[in-house]
């Protein structure tokens, strides 16, 4: 009887352990982790932000020009 209970218990533990091992399974999905750890991702952010700000400045300039035209009318 005692043996059987022990067996059941150990099987339960094994199943829990195997669940615990399954959890970080998602970490096997390949992501750009190296890019993050060596900080190169900031280069990408800088490039993207430069393009965004450049475009925004262009739109601001057009806005100013139209405002000037409106005042002349």
């Amino acid at each position: 009887m005692m043996k059987k209970i022990m067996l059941l218990f150990s099987l339960l533990i094994i199943s829990v352990v195997s669940f615990a091992q399954e959890k970080p399974d998602s970490y096997r999905v390949e992501m750009a982790d190296t890019m993050r750890s060596n900080g190169r991702i900031y280069v990408v952010v800088a490039v993207a932000l430069t393009i965004l700000i450049g475009l925004v400045l262009y739109v601001v300039r057009i806005d100013r020009k139209i405002s000037k035209l409106e005042r002349e009318k």
């Binding site: 992501m31 750009a32 952010v45 965004l52 925004v56 739109v59 139209i66 405002s67």
Partner: protein
């Protein structure tokens, strides 16, 4: 110039738009995202590709509202509003379509076959065909408008057509793709808005500000186009 001080000339929402977009570009690339097979880092496209469609939908809605306002008042100003909002919405729709094409060719393609062989399957997806139909209906709106010389007739016919085009949006991009089997995610429930079992809370923190930022940028560009057309209109009258 009684309406000089309306929202088009205020700058606070333009600044808000730029701030939200800067946040989108930084946080969108840096913050953690769920690790999902097949999607991997491309899940970050949610902040760009999906926002294009949200912005398009909002701008088309504003356009149809202005078309109805035109039909109620016959004030040519509302016709200009409706047209410019529709044009910028089409631009956002095209950007959404293009970004979707790039995204799909990397995540939907069968990895066992050369990418070109998966193309016929991808191109046949109901969501893509629906979006293409919706955009073509709006292209026809622009062609219809520009083919009528008489200004009042042009405004009236295109306002009515605008309402039909808007009604066509719903079967084309919301209903039909959900009835047919599609590779495109979000066919059950409310895509990107479902709180329980959709995108993670972490992503929602960036996604909603991104939608507002992109939409405001679209509105900003539209107001510039509206102001130019109003100036042209005045030049013609004086």
């Amino acid at each position: 110039m009684t309406d000089t001080k309306n929202y088009m000339y205020k700058s606070w929402w333009k600044i808000a738009s730029v701030a939200l977009l800067i946040y989108t570009f930084t946080a969108g690339l840096l913050l953690d995202v769920p690790r999902l097979p097949a999607l991997q880092e491309t899940i970050r496209n949610l902040y760009f590709h999906v926002c294009m469609w949200f912005a398009m939908m909002i701008l088309f809605t504003v356009s149809v509202v202005n078309a109805i306002r035109y039909l109620r008042t016959f004030n040519i100003k509302y016709d200009i509003y409706a047209r410019q909002f529709a044009v910028v919405a089409i631009v956002f729709g095209l950007l959404g379509y293009l970004t979707g094409a790039i995204w799909a060719s990397y995540t939907w393609a069968d990895p066992n076959k050369p990418a070109i062989n998966s193309f016929s399957t991808i191109a046949r997806d109901p969501k893509l065909i629906g979006a293409a139909i919706a955009l073509l209906v709006y292209f026809a709106y622009l062609i219809l408008r520009d083919s009528i010389q008489d200004m009042d007739k042009k405004a009236r016919i295109s306002a009515v057509y605008n309402i039909f085009a808007y009604a066509m949006l719903f079967p084309a991009i919301w209903i039909l793709p959900r009835i047919l089997p599609s590779l495109h995610p979000g066919n059950e429930g409310n895509p990107a808005l479902d709180v329980k079992n959709d995108i993670s809370g972490n992503m929602r923190m960036i996604f909603y500000p991104a939608v507002i930022g992109w939409t405001l940028l679209g509105v900003w560009i539209t107001t510039l186009k509206i102001r130019l057309s109003l100036l042209k209109e005045k030049g013609m009258l004086s």
